[in-house]
Symmetry: C2
């Protein structure tokens, strides 16, 4: 298995990428290779600073250009064909890599993934799935920002995408799927969620557990929660900031109190780096989007997620089980 | 000034209400009176357990009935006319009280406030404002759940309501008003926020600072943030739960580590009880909604908020400044 890793994605590329790739290769099965995609000389210089690179498992694919936050996402494929994002995704398209991982501009990775890997037949709106830490096991939320102004049937499709992700990557045989709403009762919600609830309730093959509220997610009451990408994006960014804020308050108190306390467990649970990247679900290949501030550990974990997605043949699973029923619901 | 307090609202009524009322009377100006609205004998029994009740400033108004979570909010005014919520709000309507505070069913307090106090002329959608803790001063978010499927002009009206609340109750002369969105640039967003941004930018009398994302709120970049009530409600409940969750993780670590650390400051910042209740803005009277799990301290603080709203003549301020421009925007 070969995973293409955008080496120019994070704010401090390529150091986090190179260290993350080496860490992943040491942790993952020996048949897994990583290809660092980006400026050859920059990557070579960074690689020279490391020892312990597993021989024959780490390669470099030169990409002369780099996407920045200023590039309009939809124009990247046309205007920056030599960028690491376009080169890496084209490797997946051409079968030269089995998955792509990037911490570059979320919009650019998403748009370029849609252009190159294409939505699977019958998938109206590929969605970004992201894992939220909870009191029990993490909960997959989708859509985390790929789509706004969703229709009820899009949320149903997200539920099916999430169902398969939870089965294949989280190892949950019959994942509990919930609808994010402002009340538990089926008659609560806005126009979108009222109708989505009705459709989800009638959708075969889903363990739909009904509505959950903002406060329920963190209790671990569901494995998958679906929502419009506007709500999901606001919530995700808010969660990250609240966790950071709380930890910041804590660290300050700890410094002031002059105590030395082991709060690693708290920090670990709330640390996004633990959870790897966010997959774009519903396209014809594995594409994993990481936070722009990803650490080497976050990159390593995202490579692990990519490897599990390839190993479980998630894309075929989605093509087989989601595309067909989703198509019929879409036309209904 | 006389504030009617629903004595039957919290999960453990009337003990939090009675203790909160006594605490408020001790802290607030001596011309402020509180009327406990609810079952006379239950309240009397609770009052008998307290000393230090300021003479002549605490009265009881008997209300034989009580609203429960099972009562459909819109039916309360008709089916439970003797409930503490209906009796208390009718006191405000009749001029027997200057404000109403309740920790009862949010939906019931909101619906009954709309029925009895009525929206102010030109206010299309009264909104619930709620204070979110941030790294700097708290930020007022509205709407926190009174309205779903908002139109862009409703968000503009929320901005004006929040502007006045921030001036009158938070003491901010020129509050920074922001639009909750999924990107900072004006061209980011869904249909609602794209158009709302345009209208807010053109709305006179507002210090509109543009879009903020979920992660910005907690940095304290704005004093008021407007959003659809669906998004606001999800976010609010999520925030409460994340803060609780983090504090829970922390308390557990502290217990296990056998250390004694003073983290009161952290807990205080993240403790909702600090911030009092959430006002329903845009109706013809002061109506403050508290969390169903409010402590005596939360009730005391909500009574303080009610007193400040009355003292600043907030309702007249809204009637004067919001109703007219909002009306013209509404018809535009």
């Amino acid at each position: 298995m070969r995973i293409a890793l955008d080496a120019m994605g994070t704010d401090h590329a390529p150091s986090a990428e190179v260290a993350g790739a080496i860490g992943a290769l040491q942790a993952l099965d020996s048949d897994i290779e990583v290809v660092l995609v980006g400026d050859q000389s920059t990557i070579d210089a960074e690689l020279a600073r490391h020892t312990g690179v597993p021989p024959g498992r780490l390669a470099v694919r030169h990409a002369a250009d780099r996407v920045t936050a200023a590039d309009p996402p939809a124009s990247v494929i046309r205007r920056k064909p030599e960028s690491s994002i376009v080169v890496g995704l084209k490797m997946v398209k051409a079968g030269e890599a089995d998955a792509f991982v990037s911490a570059g501009s979320t919009g650019a990775v998403m748009a370029t993934s849609l252009f190159t890997l294409r939505p699977l037949p019958g998938v109206a709106r590929p969605a970004i799935g992201t894992l939220l830490p909870t009191a029990l096991s993490p909960c997959l939320m989708l859509d985390a920002g790929a789509n706004v102004d969703c229709k009820p049937q899009h949320l149903v499709q997200f539920a099916h995408l999430g169902h398969i992700y939870a089965q294949d990557l989280m190892g949950i045989p019959d994942p509990r799927v919930a609808l994010l709403n402002i009340g538990e009762e089926p008659e609560k919600g806005d126009e979108l969620t009222l109708e989505a609830h009705r459709l989800l309730d009638a959708s075969p093959g889903l363990n739909f557990v009904g509505n959950v509220e903002g406060r329920d997610i963190i209790q671990g009451v569901c494995d998958v929660v679906v929502c419009d990408g506007f709500v999901g994006n606001v919530l995700l960014k808010f969660y990250e900031s609240v966790a950071e804020f709380t930890i910041g308050l804590l660290r300050k108190s700890l410094r002031e109190s002059d105590e030395h306390l082991n709060l690693e467990e708290v920090f670990r649970i709330l640390d996004y780096a633990e959870y790897g990247g966010a997959p774009l679900l519903g396209v014809g290949g594995v594409s994993i989007i990481c936070h722009g501030e990803s650490s080497a550990r976050a990159i390593r974990n995202a490579l692990g997620v990519a490897a599990r997605a390839v190993r479980s043949d998630m894309v075929s699973h989605i093509a087989r089980e989601v595309s067909a029923p989703a198509k019929s619901e879409e036309s209904a």
